[in-house]
Subunit: 145 residues, 2 copies
Amino acid sequence: MDEFFLAAVKEAEIGISEGGIPIGSVLVHNGKILGRGHNKRVQKGSVILHGEMDALENAGRLPASVYKECVLYTTLSPCPMCSGTILLYGIPKVVIGEHKTFLGAEKHLQENGVEVVVLDDQRCKDLMDQFIAEKPELWNEDIGV
Amino acid sequence: MDEFFLAAVKEAEIGISEGGIPIGSVLVHNGKILGRGHNKRVQKGSVILHGEMDALENAGRLPASVYKECVLYTTLSPCPMCSGTILLYGIPKVVIGEHKTFLGAEKHLQENGVEVVVLDDQRCKDLMDQFIAEKPELWNEDIGV
C-alpha cells in the first residue's frame, strides 16, 4: 500500500479520534510529504478546512512550480471547494480513497486536465460509514446539504 | 452604492493597509452581514484565505438553508477555489466588483445556476492595479501562476 495514501488514512483516523469528520489528506512533492491535514469543522469550527484544504494550508505558501509537480492524496472524493483549489494551484494528480460515500467534482477535475485515481479503499468507506451512522447531520453540514 | 458592496471594498482597503492583497468580501443574509473578510495570504501565511473564504470562515458554521438565501459580495471575480466553495454551499448569488484584473470561474458558476452580477467598479480596479504594480510576484502566487 502506498505510504502517502496510508498517511492520508492516518489523518482521517486522527480526525475521528478527535470527534471530527474522518477525511484526511496529504500533499506530496517528489516523494516527500509537504503537508498533512484532516477535516477541522468540529475541531476549529471551520467551514473551509476540509481535509484537502487543511493539508494545503499546512504545506504553507509554495511557488506555483511546486504545486504543478505535486500529487494530492485524499481519503474521499474532493468536493467542489477542494476541487476548485486543486485547479487554482494546478495540482496535476489526485489520488482518492473512495467515491462511493460521496462523489465530488471528479468530472470537473478531469475536464480540466487533472489525473484522477480512485482506489476504492474499504477502510476509507468504513470510516465514513461509521461516522455518518453516528452523526448524519454533521456530515450533511459539511457537504452543504 | 450598495452598503454591502461598500463593506467588501472596505475589507479590501483594510487588506492593502496591512500590506496584504486588496480583495475583500462579505456574506449577506436577509439584509444582514454574517461575515466579513479579506485576503490573508500575507497576514496569516495562508494559501486558502482568499477574501471570499475569509468572509465565509468568519461567518462560521451555518445551516445549509441559510447559505441558500445568501448573497456573497466580493471585490474581484472569484477564483476556482472560491467559486467551488460557493457551489459547495449553494450560495445562489454573487456580486463582483470587477473582473478586468482577473476573470475567475464565473462561467462555471453560471453553468451551475449561480446568479453573477459584475459591477465594473473603478475603485476595485484601482486597488488591484496599485497592488499588482507594487507586488506582481505576490499576486501571481495568489492565483497559482
